[in-house]
């Protein structure tokens, strides 16, 4: 790995470590480094591009890193990764993709991730997306995440698109059984003429299952964002969806929430807020000596932290 690779890796996964962790580093469509541990095994798929990750039943804490870096301009990559998390296991999985594109042609990466999380298992899933490069070729990322949570299993997903991604369609689907818990925190920043579309589809099928989805985004310059979510309550369940967007300059944002209660015991909440930075927030920070520009930066950085 050269300096460029290491820099990209560091931006999308600053916690990356080869010690005590299972990992698979994919560069320009090829797995370049792979390691398994006692608790987590990574195997390449035989029928298509991608890997299968197995976390052992009862694993106390399995660390898995599966970063993807694309440094070739005009390169398209599609990968299928499946995660099988054993009963009662605990795992922290770091994914993410960084694209460096210095040429005219578009570069893209589509990561299709499926999680099969067995009874009582707990997963923290962290995913960061980032694009850079001097060329006018687009940096396109279209991740798909499918989550199956068995009884009392839980998944917390922190997903962030930091900057530089020209176009993205992020699709997340989740199916929750009894007592399962899902928490998703999404942060998106778009600028220039970028577009970002987020689609969440969550089905709460088991009693006492719950979902908390929070999307915070900043759309600046001429960018556009769409937030689409559909949460279906089929049981005695609880869900809270919050979409909060700051718009700047000539950016536009649409929020299209849908909550569907198929039983009287489903309790579902959706909150959506879109607006510019509150003037009172800017004034407060300016009373502390921050310039208007610095105050704005501080508010946005805090919002997307």
């Amino acid at each position: 790995m050269n300096d460029l690779d290491n820099n990209l890796l560091n931006v999308i996964n600053e916690d990356f470590s080869r010690e005590n962790a299972a990992y698979n580093i994919r560069k320009d469509g090829v797995g370049i480094e792979r390691n398994s541990t006692e608790d987590a095994t990574i195997e390449p798929k035989k029928d298509k591009e991608g890997i299968d990750v197995y976390v052992k039943e009862g694993a106390e804490m399995a660390y898995v890193h599966i970063p993807v870096i694309i440094t070739k301009g005009g390169f398209s990559d599609k990968v299928y990764n499946d995660f099988y998390i054993g009963k009662g296991a605990n795992a922290i999985i770091n994914a993410g993709c960084g694209i460096h594109n210095d040429v005219h042609a578009d570069s893209s990466h589509n990561g299709i991730h499926r999680f099969f999380i067995e009874e009582g298992a707990t997963v923290v899933y962290i995913e960061k997306h980032y694009g850079e490069g001097k060329g006018d070729g687009k940096k396109i990322l279209d991740p798909v995440t499918e989550i199956h949570l068995k009884k009392n299993a839980s998944l917390k997903m922190d997903t962030a698109q930091i900057k530089g991604v020209s176009s993205t369609i992020r699709t997340t689907k989740a199916f929750l059984e009894e007592g399962a818990k899902l928490e998703i925190n999404e942060k998106i920043f778009t600028h220039e003429k970028q577009t970002a579309k987020t689609v969440f589809e969550v089905e709460l099928n088991g009693n006492k299952s719950s979902a908390k989805i929070s999307s915070r985004s900043v759309a600046s310059e001429n960018s556009h964002q769409d937030f689409i979510s559909k949460v279906v309550g089929n049981s005695d369940c609880y869900a809270h969806v919050e979409c909060d967007a700051i718009i700047k300059d000539k950016a536009t944002v649409t929020s299209d929430p849908m909550i569907v209660a198929n039983t009287v015991d489903a309790s579902l909440v959706h909150e959506a807020t879109i607006g510019k930075i509150a003037g009172e927030q800017l004034i407060k920070l300016m009373t502390l000596g921050l310039s208007k520009e610095k105050a704005e930066e501080t508010i946005i950085n805090g919002f997307l932290k």
Binding site: R216, D244, A278, E280, Q281, I283, K284, L285, M286, T287, L288, G289, L290, S291, K292, A295, T298, I299, N301, G302, F303, L304, K305
Partner: protein, 232 residues
């Protein structure tokens, strides 16, 4: 010394401040008066949050009327809002650290939060949002101004939302500020106990300001209503 010269503020043809002239010296100055009299507006004019229609503000001989909010902050002004501002993602610790950035002596978030009656470890990592109660937000707001160790401290109704139990701590803090050399502290307040500790009292009534020499004089003037003959 802070001089307010012929300051007027007119909005929608309504005169909110009417040729206000004041000289504010180091010590504790309380600005009081009826609701809607223009007290908060005057405090915001001093900080640069509201731009006056006419008149000037002179600080230690320098005309600061056209200085922005942040430029006044850099000159040593601090402001505590009547209604605390909420943020998403910014924690109590972040705000206090930002606030103390330019203060001369370093005061830790832990120290200043305990000064306003909050157990710091329970608060530093909390976001300044609706999960905090009105009283908690108010104390954090006051702490964010106090930690700046400013030369001109302006508090807009600091007692609003503060429970009686904490009120003694609040007035103790103002007593301490009063003794600070070369420090001007201005408090917009209706509270008798804050007026009691003031070095100077300014009454704002219908946009006009007048210096009042004692609390007794304040009661006499305040009870007179200019709008009706029978008194009210």
């Amino acid at each position: 010394m802070l001089e307010v010269k012929d300051i007027s503020y007119v909005v929608d043809n309504k005169v909110v401040l009417d040729k206000v002239n004041l000289t504010i010296k180091p010590g504790l100055t309380v600005i009081t008066g009826p609701n809607g009299a223009g007290k908060s507006t005057l405090s915001k004019v001093l900080m640069g949050i509201v731009k006056p229609t006419s008149g000037s503000i002179i600080y230690n001989g320098e005309d600061i009327t056209n200085l922005s909010i942040d430029e006044r902050a850099k000159k040593g002004f601090a402001f505590s809002f009547q209604t605390p501002v909420k943020f998403k993602g910014i924690t109590v610790g972040d705000l206090i650290t930002l606030s103390s950035f330019e203060s001369e002596s370093f005061i830790s978030p832990y120290e200043i939060l305990s000064d306003v009656g909050l157990c710091a470890k329970d608060y530093v990592n909390r976001e300044i949002d609706s999960s905090l109660s009105g009283g908690e937000l108010k104390r954090i707001e006051i702490a964010s101004a106090l930690v700046r160790e400013a030369k001109v401290n302006i508090f807009d109704e600091p007692e609003a939302g503060i429970d009686l139990w904490s009120f003694d701590n609040l007035s103790d803090m103002f007593k301490k500020l009063k003794t600070k050399k070369d420090t001007i502290s201005i408090i917009v307040s209706h509270q008798e106990r804050i007026i009691d500790i003031a070095s100077n009292i300014i009454l704002i009534k219908q946009g006009k300001a007048q210096v009042v020499n004692s609390k007794k004089e304040l009661s006499t003037i305040a009870s007179k209503c200019n709008d009706c003959k029978g008194g009210c």
